[in-house]
């Protein structure tokens, strides 16, 4: 009886399997730095940053999403085109997240009681790009008569993945750290994705189809404003907001 041979054979296989394991992901840091006392800010002196995001070049044509992997989606969906590039008549680029990246350090702002909202409607996320505050409640709703999972894949906040198998089901979540952007996806329906910018201040906006944005009620000061697009990346500009003034800033993304 060649036990040694048999055990050698088995041991080699088991050892090979064991060798491939090891390690673990470190938990994402969620601690938020303590805010210093905010400098005095007279609301009467507030200004704003306005502008337009434009797209140069011809973006890839929107593609029709095949939703037949879920008959309910194929029946429910009214919008089946990809929305990577939303371009208005004057070249304005929609779904761009614009926010104050630098210049507000040391200030703190009250977190709104009203929740932010993301819904699953017609097997798409609504809205596709949006902003919310650190500590603000995010209400996640499934308005579809089919099941979804909502899977957030942040870098600075804890990842989560929740199933919503029943129409009308709602969950609440919060993010404890600022992060631009937190992606959402549905692993059931691979075409569903959305992005949320999580900030510790209220100075952000998302461009509409015309590419325009308006960030108002901003304390006077020098800022770095960043524009983020899911396919085209980010651009930054310095801007100075005077007392009661409006600073105009425009970004041009290029494609092709």
């Amino acid at each position: 009886m060649q036990h040694r041979t048999m055990w050698t054979f088995v041991s080699l296989i088991i050892l090979a399997a064991a060798a491939c394991g090891g390690g673990s992901d470190a938990p994402a840091e969620s601690a938020m730095p303590a805010a210093a006392a905010p400098p005095a800010f007279d609301p009467a002196t507030a200004g704003s940053v306005m502008g337009m995001i434009t797209l140069e070049g011809t973006p890839p044509a929107a593609e029709t999403i095949r939703m037949n992997s879920d008959p309910a989606c194929a029946e429910l969906a009214s919008d089946t085109e990809t929305e990577y590039y939303v371009v208005g008549g004057s070249g304005g680029l929609g779904n761009v997240f614009v926010y104050v990246k630098e210049g507000l350090e040391g200030r703190s702002f009250p977190v709104p009681d009203e929740p932010a909202m993301i819904d699953q409607v017609g097997c798409r996320y609504t809205p596709h790009v949006f902003g919310m505050r650190v500590g603000q409640t995010l209400k996640i709703r499934n308005s579809d008569a089919t099941l979804h999972n909502i899977h957030a894949t942040p870098a600075a906040n804890p990842e989560f993945n929740m199933g919503q198998p029943i129409q009308g089901m709602e969950f609440d979540r919060t993010f404890e750290a600022a992060e631009v952007m937190v992606p959402f996806k549905c692993d059931v329906h691979g075409w569903m994705n959305a992005y949320v910018g999580v900030l510790d201040h209220p100075y952000f906006a998302v461009t509409g189809d015309d590419g325009n944005f308006d960030i108002s009620e901003l304390p006077p000061g020098d800022y770095v404003v960043e524009a983020w697009h899911e396919e085209l990346g980010t651009q930054m500009q310095n801007v100075t907001v005077g007392e009661g003034g409006t600073a105009e800033v425009s970004f041009t993304f290029t494609v092709g």
Partner: protein, 335 residues
């Protein structure tokens, strides 16, 4: 015993189907389409409605259902072996296979609950192949050919036993293939599948002009593929040249050659098609088949090391001097 062998082959086929379904899960990015485990969207997994088998759930929940069937078949195999199998070491391998499939199920659950951490997912992929190898080995150990020692005479057994080159090659090949499988799993679970977007060159050159972990893993997999291909061709060529009369060796040797050709083609095609789901999944399944075939050739080559044959050779008169090492197998027909 004959039915036990058939049952074993059924389990091996089910395991290959399970590995293919697992490949589909990763190829379609459906690994987290069912966020909970062991339940499915709150349902006991066997009670989950068929109407919910949509999109990524079809792949992920389907994978879990096939895994359950494989798990139950493995329990049946271990119990069957425990009751009917006279060889203790075979019974032990049955229990080891059962332990492996249990651990495999747990790894599958853990990787879902922790959002697919690469070390766990790679372990899941690696253990899947180990389990497959165990099941295929059991199918070999319970096969009529194995039990009949492939019709080898003592001299025939000695001829194979004395072929040190073959004996080493058939161990190197499955080890190298398994290393390749682990590298492939690392590529798959770290998103490095397209880290080098062209083929056969790397960014238009023989060596990548830039390096990062993803490119390194991807390039290592390509180099590994070359080494495995050479090892397989050397082994198959050696078998055909020196043991051409032994069908139990030549058949897996031919199959190895065909599979390695298919596997390299599928690997290239996976890159060039930007990870087409069907091609990518076929690459996983063919890799498993390649590994299993290498295990079969290894076991058949080393048949004499298992007790009954070894004892027979030891008891026979010394005919080593009459054996032409590496000569063709002659009139002995394998099964």
């Amino acid at each position: 015993m004959h039915w036990l062998h058939r049952y074993n082959r059924l389990l091996a086929a089910a395991t290959l189907l399970l590995i293919t379904a697992g490949g589909l899960v990763t190829s379609t990015g459906s690994g987290l389409a069912v966020p909970d485990w062991p339940n499915t969207y709150g349902y006991f997994m066997f009670a989950f409605p068929l109407s919910g088998m949509v999109g990524g759930i079809l792949y992920e929940h389907g994978h879990r259902l096939i895994a359950s069937v494989v798990g139950m078949l493995t329990i049946g195999l271990a119990v069957w072996l425990a009751q009917k199998e006279p060889r203790r070491w075979v019974r032990h391998i049955g229990w080891i296979a059962l332990a492996a499939v249990v651990v495999q199920g747990l790894l599958g659950g853990i990787t879902v609950l922790y959002f697919l951490p690469p070390p766990i997912s790679i372990s899941h992929a690696g253990l899947a192949q180990v389990f497959f190898a165990l099941v295929v080995s059991l199918a070999i150990f319970t096969s009529p050919g194995w039990l009949a020692r492939y019709g080898r005479s003592t001299d025939g057994e000695r001829r194979i036993a004395a072929d040190g080159i073959l004996r080493r090659l058939v161990i190197v090949v499955p080890a190298a293939i398994y290393g390749q499988i682990l590298l492939g799993a690392a590529m798959r679970h770290t998103g490095a599948g397209l880290a080098i977007p062209d083929f056969p060159l790397a960014f238009g050159r023989l060596l990548p002009p830039v390096w990062d972990p993803a490119i390194a893993i991807h390039f290592a997999h390509r180099v590994g593929a070359l080494m495995v291909t050479l090892a397989v061709l050397a082994t198959a060529g050696h078998v055909l040249a020196h043991h051409g009369g032994r069908r139990e060796l030549t058949r897996p040797a031919w199959l190895l050659g065909a599979l390695v050709f298919a596997q390299v083609t599928l690997g290239a095609w996976t890159v060039l098609s930007a990870r087409d789901v069907t091609i990518n999944t076929a690459h996983v399944a063919t890799g498993a088949l390649l590994f299993a075939t290498a295990i079969v050739l290894c076991l058949r080559t080393h048949r004499d090391r298992f007790s009954d044959v070894a004892a027979r050779i030891a008891a026979a008169p010394d005919a080593a001097s009459a054996v032409a090492i590496g000569a063709p197998g002659g009139a002995e027909a394998g099964r």
